[in-house]
Point group: C2
Chain length 316, copies 2
C-alpha cells in the first residue's frame, strides 16, 4: 500500500472521509455527524473522527497516507487553508483548518471548495483525464463549477473564480438565490427545474408528474426524471428546455475558456445526460467558436463521492 | 539600441508596423496598403514593405530587433503561426505567415489575434503591468477580449478562447453579427450603441444628437459622445444603460475568471471611462464575488496603437 491519500468532504451536517488510491479509487469510507456550532475545536474533532475511523478500519493506511485533502464550505482561502466565514458552519471563523489537520496527522493537508476539488479529481482520475484544460460543472441543489488548467485548479484573485453557476444568461430573468438575475442556476439547478415544473402544472397542464408527486407542491426533480423516462410530454418539454438553457450557458463558457473537455456531474447531470449529444450540436448556434461541437461533453466519473475524490485529489 | 521588437498590425486594407523598445514605447511607425486578394505572396510583400520601411528609417534597428510579432485577422493558429481562412484577407488560406516572415528577416516571428496580443501588451507594459491575471477588452466596432494568465496569453483548445464579446447576457436579446443572441457586442459595440440611439430617436425622443448628426440615419457613436459631454439627456441615458449592460457582462467575467485587473481599451472605452467607478460599484449586484469591486477597472495604455504594441509584445 503506497501513494494513498485521504479525502474529507465536510457539509453542514456530516463529514465523509475516504481512503483513495493512486488511481483515484475510493477503497474505504467513513461518515460522522458534523458539529457546526460552538468553537472551532468542536468542528475539528468531527473531521478528526472521520479520518480516525478510516485508520481504525485500515491500520496500514496510517503509514501509507501521504496527504489529507479537505472539501469545506466556502468562503475559504485555498492558499493558506483557512476557512473564512461559511454561513453553514458557524464554528469556524478565520479558522486554520489545514494547519490543524497537519498538526494532528503530521502529513500535508490542503483545503478547497467542492466544485474546484471535484474538477481536479475528474481531471486527474476521471472523465477529464488526459486533457489539458478541464471545465467541470456539478448540477445539483445549486450549480457549482471548477476550472483546471494544466493540472492545477484555477483560483483567480482570491480563490473565488469558477463560479460558473452564476453566469447570467438573461439579465431580465428570474432572481437567483445569489441576488443576481438570470443565472443558469436560477433555471437549471434541481430545485429550479422543480420550480419551473410546478409553475407549468399550476397553470393546469396535464402530466404524470402530478400523480407521481401527489400534489403540485410536492413536485421534486426526481418526479420530473421519472415521468421523463416514462415518456411524459411535459417532463420532456421541461428537460428539453433545460438542455437548451444549459447549451446557451455552455456557449458562453466555450467562448471564454475553450476548454479541452467539459465534464458534468451531480444528480441533475445524470438526468440530463441523454441530452448531451443535442447540447453539443446546439453549441454551433450558441458559441461563436465553430469547433465548439468537437469539445467532449461528458458525464463525470464520480457521483455522490465527488467530494471525497476531489478532496483526495488536492493532495495526490 | 537593444531589446527592440517590431510589431505588425494587419487589417483588411492596411498594414501598420512599429518599432517598440523594451519599455513598450513605440518609437517609429510605418503604414502601407494591404493587398488582401491574389496569392499569398501578395499579402506577404505588404507585410515585408511595412517592416522594411521601419528599417529604412532607423538603419540601426536591423541589428537590434530580436523578434517580429504580427496581429493578423483570424482564424489563425498562434502555435504554428499559420493564418487559416480570414474572411477579410482572402489571399491567405492556410498560409504560414510566421515562417515566411522568419525566412525573410531571420528573426523569430509570432502571430496572434489583435485582442489577445493587445492584452499581452497591456499586461507587460500597460495598465495591466504588475498583475498576474489580466482580462482585457477592446470596445470598438466589435468587442474583442484577451486573457493573460501569469504572463502568457490563454489560448484554449484551438486558439479560440477569450471571445468575451460574444458572452450572451440575454438569450432572448437582439441577434449579434455572429449569429448568437444577446451578446454584449450586440449592445455595447460602437455600431450597436449608435443603433440603439437611432431606435430611440426614431421613436421621436428629442435630443441634441439629431442636430449633431444631421439625420437619424447618420447617427454614429461619436455624436452620442459629443452630446453626452454637452449634457444631453438622451445621450446620458444611452451611455448609462450601456454601462449597466457592461456591468452585467463584467459580472459574468469576474464570476468565471476573477482576474487581478480588468483593462478596457478601444474608442468606446474612452467614451465610457467616466462610468468605470459606477460599473465597479455595480459589480456588487452583478457578481456573486463580494470582492469584485476591488478589482481595478482601468483604461488601456494603448489606444489606436494597440495592434502594433500587442504584436510587438508577442516577441518581447
Amino acid at each position: 500500500m503506497s501513494g494513498m491519500t485521504i479525502g474529507v468532504d465536510i457539509g453542514g451536517t456530516k463529514v465523509a472521509a475516504g481512503l483513495v488510491d493512486a488511481a483515484g479509487r475510493i477503497t474505504h469510507k467513513s461518515r460522522v455527524p458534523m458539529v457546526s456550532t460552538g468553537d472551532g475545536a468542536a468542528g475539528l474533532s468531527c473531521v478528526e473522527s472521520a479520518i480516525q475511523a478510516i485508520f481504525a478500519e485500515v491500520p496500514t493506511a496510517r503509514a501509507a497516507v501521504t496527504g489529507i485533502g479537505i472539501c469545506a464550505p466556502g468562503p475559504l482561502d485555498p492558499t493558506t487553508g483557512v476557512i473564512l466565514n461559511p454561513p453553514n458552519v458557524q464554528c469556524w471563523r478565520d479558522y486554520p483548518l489545514a494547519a490543524e489537520v497537519e498538526r494532528i496527522f503530521a502529513v500535508p493537508a490542503r483545503v478547497d471548495n467542492d466544485a474546484n476539488a471535484a474538477c481536479l479529481a475528474e481531471a486527474r482520475w476521471g472523465a477529464g483525464a488526459g486533457y489539458r484544460n478541464v471545465f467541470f460543472a456539478i448540477l445539483g441543489t445549486g450549480i457549482g463549477t471548477g476550472i483546471v488548467f494544466e493540472g492545477k485548479i484555477y483560483h483567480g484573485r482570491t480563490g473565488s473564480a469558477a463560479e460558473g453557476g452564476h453566469v447570467t444568461i438573461d439579465y431580465q430573468g428570474p432572481r437567483c438565490g445569489c441576488g443576481k438575475h438570470g443565472c443558469i442556476e436560477a433555471y437549471a439547478s434541481g430545485p429550479n427545474i422543480a420550480r419551473r415544473t410546478r409553475e407549468r402544472l399550476s397553470s393546469g397542464e396535464p402530466s404524470a408528474i402530478l400523480q407521481l408527486a401527489g400534489s403540485v407542491d410536492a413536485v421534486r426533480t426526481e418526479h420530473v426524471g421519472e415521468a421523463f423516462r416514462a415518456g411524459d410530454p411535459l417532463a420532456t418539454q421541461i428537460l428539453t428546455e433545460t438542455s437548451h438553457l444549459l447549451t446557451i450557458w455552455l456557449g458562453t463558457i466555450v467562448d471564454i475558456l475553450e476548454p479541452d473537455v467539459m465534464v458534468i456531474g451531480g444528480g441533475v447531470a445524470e438526468l440530463m445526460s441523454s441530452f448531451f449529444p443535442a447540447m453539443s450540436a446546439g453549441l454551433k448556434e450558441w458559441a461563436i467558436n465553430q469547433r465548439a461541437g468537437e469539445i467532449p461533453l461528458v458525464l463525470a466519473r464520480y457521483g455522490s463521492d465527488a467530494g471525497i475524490a476531489g478532496a483526495a485529489a488536492l493532495c495526490a
